[in-house]
Each structure stands twice: as structure tokens, then as C-alpha cells.
């Protein structure tokens, strides 16, 4: 189906089913229960899951296939966001032109930076991209404030000269982003008994775009172009000796992944029309590197998993505070309760960075292939139990896809 082989088709279908049913899957706990703290099925976080999924899928096309480790990809996301917000300010609140422009601008930006940076490889390439991104961030924060609105971030105002559309609505507020009239922020709530599920327009738009991006990524992975990119990774010198110039291929991959980042940036601005300069900081670039490696670089689904993992931590764990802990452990005797809270407290709430750092280390140490490898190991464990007599050899050489 769709020009994919059977395995890829089923992967695509599984991912499609997961994203479409996410409002149910991410809200497994009844709204009033103590575990509701761990529910992630609200619009903002679901949008972030898929948008950062797109970002990471795009990054993986570059890093996973060619091995070029870019430390400046956040710059493309930031540029995409700024273009989208400018489109909202000047043209129309419809997200289509905004997203298109953000992809194009990010692509052009990536072409420029890629053209220069790809003259070098290895750690030099990383530092070049890092330098470009940091320059973009520093300038966006200070000198370029007329374009970027600096620290505050570029946002809509009541006096934007919108060519197609109104500057402010009849009741004196800023119009909302929409897709031909369907408001991005519109959410339908479905209450099933104690459960509460939220279906958000913006989420579904992002999810569909993520599925398209994912499909495109599969096609790239399986295409001759993808093979060429893998060749860049495995042995560039040999490739050059065979008379192939590897740079156009690497540059194409760089621009494609830059456009993915631009799409993610444009979508972020469409969901929430504000573009902050921190989106371009090196830590933001580092984050997508972490997502990809954590999930499993070079695998199709890994980056999406990694993105979900990190965003979940950032948004859920940081919100657990001491009084919530007291509620959870309230059933215990006082002394035990206090000890437990004292033990857990450093790792949640304001300590979520600590937990994340520990998890990075654990994953990299024990699962070099990222979460995908973890899944495979578990899968293998079950398969082995079923067919004990089979030799281990067959299951060991599963390619990490």
C-alpha cells in the first residue's frame, strides 16, 4: 500500500492509529483520580508531541541517514515560527499560507547554512551549525528585535495590518488562527463516565501533517536517494572515489530536514501564535539531538518516541509538587509518608531536570540503540519464550528499523 512494503505499511498504520486515538490513549486515568496527574491527553501537550515528532523525524533524515550531527537545527524551527507569525500579522489568520511560508523560509535558510557547513564533516560540521544557530539566537534576542520582538517573542497585536482579514474582531480581541474557518484552538470534550477526552482541531491538523511527514520519511529511507545518504554515512571517502560527489546528497538531506524543522516551527506558531527566541538557542538544538538518540537514531519510529518521552517529562513531571505528593502518600503512617516524600521530592517538580538527566544516562548506557532497541529486546524476549528451540542467531540480526 502507498508504495510501501508490508512491514512499513503496518508501521505506518500503527502510527496512524496511535496518533488518531491519542486523545483516548493519553488519558487512561479518570479525571478526578489521583493518577490524573499523569494524563497527557490535553491539547497543548498532544500538539507538542506530534510537532516535536515532526521536528525529530526531519532531524533523523539528516543525522540518522547521513551521520551529520547538526547542533543548530533549532534555528530552522525558530525561523519557521517567525515567518508564520509574520504571515498571521500581515496576510491572514489562515494557517495554510503561514505554514507554507515557514517551510519555504526554513528551506532557504537551511540551504544557505548547509551550503557553508557541509564543507566540513564530523565534529567540525557540528560546531559550524552550532555557531550559525547561536548567532541567529543572539541576534534575534538583541539587534534584530524589530523583526523578532526579542525576549518577549513575536506576537500578534490588535493593530496588525492584516491584508486578508480584520485587525481585531467585533468584540475587540485578536482573531484566532484557523484552517478555512476551523479554529485551531477549538476543542470538543467527550466525557465518558469519569473519563474526560479532548479532541482538538489543531492537534488533528498537526497529527495529519505528522503522518504525511512520517510517510515521506519512510519513502526517503527506502528510496535510492536514501541508500545514497546511508552511503555518505558508512564511507564517504569510498563514495567519492567511485566518482560520486556526496555533497549534493548531504545538502539535499540537510535542506529537507531544515524544511521539516520549519514545518514544525510553523505549526507551533499556528497552534499558539507566538515565536520566542529561545526556540533557537543551542539547548533547543540539543533537545532534538537528545530526542533522536534517545528514541533510536536511524530508526523510523525512534525520534517520535524520543520526542514524546522528553516532552512528557517536561510537562508532566515538572508539575508534580509537594502537596500532590502528600495527597498520594496520605494513606501511609506519618513518619513513613514524610520519609517517602523526602526521598521522591528531589526527583519531581523542580527536580525534573535531574530525573531527565539520569534517564538519558541510563538509556545511553544500557540501550545504545535508544528506546527502539529497548522495545526490540522486550519483543525478542517474548519471541524467544515462544520458540525456545529456535537458535538465537535469527533474532539477533534484526535491522534496527
Amino acid at each position: 500500500m502507498f508504495g510501501l512494503d508490508k512491514k512499513d505499511t503496518s508501521l505506518l498504520i500503527i502510527v496512524a492509529a496511535l496518533t488518531m486515538l491519542a486523545p483516548f490513549l493519553l488519558n487512561p486515568f479518570p479525571a478526578e483520580s489521583a493518577m490524573a496527574q499523569f494524563n497527557a491527553g490535553y491539547p497543548d501537550l498532544m500538539q507538542r508531541f506530534v510537532i516535536f515528532g515532526i521536528f525529530a523525524i526531519g532531524f533523523n533524515i539528516l543525522f540518522g541517514l547521513t551521520g551529520y550531527l547538526s547542533f543548530g537545527h533549532a534555528a530552522f524551527l525558530g525561523v519557521g515560527s517567525y515567518s508564520a507569525v509574520w504571515m498571521f500579522k500581515l496576510l491572514s489568520m489562515n494557517v495554510v499560507p503561514a505554514i507554507l511560508l515557514s517551510v519555504v523560509v526554513a528551506g532557504v535558510f537551511a540551504l544557505l547554512i548547509g551550503f557553508v557547513s557541509l564543507r566540513r564533516s564530523g565534529i567540525y560540521f557540528s560546531i559550524l551549525t552550532l555557531a550559525f544557530a547561536q548567532m541567529s539566537f543572539n541576534l534575534a534576542y538583541s539587534v534584530l528585535t524589530p523583526i523578532t520582538n526579542g525576549e518577549t517573542g513575536l506576537q500578534l497585536t490588535l493593530n496588525d495590518p492584516r491584508v486578508l482579514g480584520v485587525s481585531s474582531t467585533a468584540d475587540g480581541s485578536i482573531p484566532v488562527t484557523n484552517l478555512f474557518g476551523a479554529e485551531m484552538r477549538a476543542t470538543y470534550e467527550l466525557a465518558l463516565g469519569p473519563w474526560n477526552f479532548q479532541f482538538n482541531t489543531g492537534y488533528y491538523l498537526s497529527a495529519i501533517l505528522m503522518l504525511l511527514s512520517f510517510y515521506l520519511a519512510i519513502r526517503i529511507f527506502r528510496s535510492p536517494f536514501g541508500m545514497m545518504l546511508r552511503a555518505v554515512k558508512s564511507n564517504q571517502t569510498r563514495m567519492n572515489y567511485t566518482g560520486l560527489n556526496s555533497r549534493p546528497y548531504a545538502l539535499a538531506a540537510f535542506v529537507i530536514s531544515g524544511m521539516y524543522a520549519g514545518l514544525a516551527g510553523g505549526l507551533m506558531a499556528s497552534m499558539d501564535p507566538l515565536a520566542g527566541a529561545e526556540r533557537m538557542q543551542w539547548t533547543a538544538s540539543g533537545e532534538v539531538v537528545l530526542m533522536t538518540i534517545l528514541g533510536g537514531a536511524g530508526t523510523l519510529i525512534g525520534p517520535v518516541l524520543g520526542a514524546g518521552f522528553i516532552k512528557y517529562f517536561e510537562n508532566i513531571f515538572s508539575k508534580i509538587n509537594e502537596s500532590i505528593l502528600h495527597k498520594w502518600f496520605a494513606f501511609m503512617p506519618d513518619g513513613l509518608e514524610d520519609t517517602l516524600i523526602a526521598l521522591v521530592y528531589p526527583f519531581i517538580g523542580k527536580g525534573w531536570h535531574l530525573t531527565l538527566g539520569i534517564l538519558f544516562m541510563l538509556v545511553v548506557i544500557f540501550l545504545p540503540g535508544g528506546l527502539v532497541e529497548g522495545g526490540q529486546r522486550i519483543g525478542r524476549l517474548f519471541r524467544r519464550k515462544k520458540s525456545d528451540e529456535k537458535s538465537d542467531k535469527s533474532s539477533q540480526s534484526t535491522p534496527a528499523e
Binding site: 557553508v116 538583541s142 527536580g351 538527566g357 538519558f360
Partner: protein
């Protein structure tokens, strides 16, 4: 002229910190082939060694003074340090004041121990893994170290002053024959520069003139051959890691009086020191030092008003701009050897 001399001094001073951190990074990269993102955290821990020692020296007990009251109207409790009671206010006070220089001695064993533990416990397992994995695991470690410090010391900067004998400033201009007060420079920053020069010199001498250093240098050049000669290169590399950690730590200890330490100061330096290493040439120790000072001076010049009025915002990007130009025109960096990490 005086402005230029001042900026050169500032540049040398900034450069000292860059050079010390980059030196350690290069030692680790050159010997072990590991990209250590936790190196900034080692610098930060060094600074907190100074904070810790000054806290230890300031350990105190409370005396209640009934005649005065605190902010809630209770009798005022004020603290007296143990050390002042034991050694007398004069001797004790002096020791407390000299906490930062004393922390040099205090920090060396701690930093070497941290270095050993890091190398044996974690880095060792990553020699054969891709650079990306090394970056990720050391980055995770950096976050963990930084959060642990934050947990115990809070997020705000902690003042750690230099001894008052060294807090004044030197009339540098008069020494050079300018009019008085034209070029004055803080003593402690001069101390920092001299200290950095000593450490750098020490590391080079160690590598150049000791058998141990010779073996390490040979190992940097060709690890396998050295291993085949029956030399236990692994153990030496562990020691080198400890030394690199100590260099970063000492850089941090002495930096504490310049800017009050906080838990994220390591991250602030990390990116810059990587740029320094690359500009100097991966694996080149003289390159790291040279690039450190060079970029420090360039950064200082870029922040001069005269320069900024021509290129607005140049002080924000100059280091990156220089890095890009150097990498494009001279890929192996200023002093990188041919063939090391070069395309």
C-alpha cells in the same frame, strides 16, 4: 591606547578561563578520544569546592543576644564560627578570608577523585561508542551534576570573595609609563592570569619532561602501538582524566571571586570552550591555549564601543563568526596536526 591595553588585559583574563577549560577538554579528547560535555560541570564543581570550603570554615554556633531583636521580634541569634573561637579571632578570621586560595589544596584531591570515578565508572565504557553517544551520556551527567549542586546550594549565585589583600586594583598604566589611574586592573584578575599561566606551563612540562608524559603523548599519537609495547596505557589515561578534571576544577576555584558561582556557570562556558577547542585544532594542546587567549581578546575588542558602533551586535557573535571563518579556511584549526580529525 589605554583602552586597548585594558581590553587586552581583559581578553587575557577571559582567555585564561577559556584556555584552562579547553586544555582539559583537549587532554581528554586527545588521550581518550572522548567528547566530554560534562567538562563545564567540572569547572562548576571546582568553583563550588571554593564555596564549600568557605562554608566549612564558616561553620558556626549560635549565641543569643537578648538585648537585640530579629525581624520577627525574637531575641537576635548571631553566629560565631568555631574556627574563630578555636584559633582566636585574628588567626581564624584570616583563615576564613583566605578560603579561596586554600580551596586550591582542598579541591585538587576532590577533583582528581571525581575524575577517576567518572572515567572508571562511566567514560571507560564509551571509548568504542560513537561520539554522539558520548555527547549524550556526558550531557546527561552534566545535567545530573548541575542539578545535584542546585539541590544543595540553590540557584542563586553565592558570593565568594577573594582575600582582602588581593581585592584592590593595580595601577597598571603607571608601570608602563602612562599617567596615573589611566589603566588600573584588579589584582585578583592578574592573579588569575598568572595562575592560569602556571597551570598551563605545569601541564606542558609534565607532558614534555616526564616519562609518564612521554608515554601519554605517544599514546595520543598511536594508542595501539604503545599498547603492543606492553605499556598499560589505560591506567595512564585514567590518570590523565583525573588531571584534566583537576585543571578544570582549579580554573573554577580561582574563578569564584571574579563572578559569584552559580549552578549553571558550567553550561555557560561549555559551548564557548568547544568552539575554542575546535578553533585551536582538535587534539592540539598548544592550539587550545592559543585559541583560548585569542578568542578572549577578540571578544573583548568586539565589545568596545568604537567597534560596536560600526558593527552593531558584533560582541554577541564575534566568537562564532571567527570560528566559522577559521573552520572554512583552515579546517584543522590553528594548530591542529595534519590528519587528526580532518577531512
Amino acid at each position: 591606547m589605554d583602552a586597548i591595553i585594558l581590553q587586552i588585559l581583559n581578553g587575557l583574563d577571559k582567555g585564561s578561563a577559556y584556555a584552562l577549560i579547553a586544555l582539559g577538554l583537549t587532554l581528554i579528547f586527545g588521550t581518550l578520544g572522548v567528547v566530554n560535555f560534562a567538562h563545564g560541570a567540572l569547572f562548576m564543581i571546582g568553583a563550588f569546592c571554593a564555596v564549600t570550603l568557605s562554608r566549612i570554615l564558616n561553620l558556626s554556633f549560635e549565641i543569643v543576644d537578648e538585648s537585640r531583636t530579629d525581624f520577627l521580634g525574637n531575641p537576635l541569634k548571631f553566629k560565631t564560627t568555631y574556627i574563630e573561637t578555636w584559633l582566636g579571632p585574628e588567626m581564624g578570621g584570616t583563615i576564613i578570608e583566605w578560603a579561596v586560595p586554600l580551596a586550591i589544596l582542598f579541591s585538587i584531591p576532590i577533583m582528581i577523585a571525581i575524575g577517576f570515578i567518572m572515567e572508571r565508572g562511566l567514560i571507560k565504557h564509551f571509548y568504542k561508542r560513537p561520539h554522539a553517544d558520548q555527547i549524550l551520556v556526558t550531557f546527561g551527567l552534566a545535567i545530573v551534576l548541575q542539578e545535584i549542586i542546585k539541590y544543595f546550594y540553590g540557584a542563586n549565585p553565592i558570593p565568594t570573595p577573594a582575600p582582602s589583600a588581593l581585592t584592590g586594583s593595580l595601577d597598571f598604566g603607571e608601570l608602563l609609563g602612562f599617567q596615573a589611574n589611566a589603566v588600573i586592573y584588579p589584582y585578583w584578575r592578574l592573579v588569575y592570569f598568572v595562575f592560569a599561566a602556571l597551570i598551563i606551563g605545569g601541564v606542558f612540562a609534565f607532558l614534555q619532561f616526564t616519562t609518564f608524559g612521554m608515554v601519554v603523548r605517544a599514546g595520543m599519537a598511536d594508542r595501539e602501538t604503545v599498547g603492543l609495547l606492553g605499556i598499560n596505557i589505560d591506567r595512564r589515561f585514567t590518570i590523565m582524566f583525573g588531571i584534566a578534571a583537576a585543571v578544570a576544577g582549579l580554573a573554577g576555584v580561582m574563578y569564584a571571586p571574579i563572578n559569584s558561582p552559580n549552578y549553571h556557570m558550567g553550561m555557560d562556558f561549555l559551548v564557548l570552550s568547544f568552539v575554542v577547542v575546535v578553533v585551536g585544532g582538535m587534539g592540539s594542546l598548544p592550539g587550545a591555549v592559543l585559541a583560548g587567549f585569542l578568542l578572549g581578546i577578540l571578544e573583548s575588542f568586539a565589545s568596545m564601543n568604537e567597534v560596536k558602533s560600526i558593527f552593531p551586535g558584533i560582541d554577541q557573535i564575534v566568537i562564532y563568526l571567527v570560528a566559522i571563518i577559521i573552520l572554512l579556511t583552515r579546517p584543522r584549526g590553528l594548530m591542529g596536526r595534519k590528519g587528526v580529525m580532518e577531512d
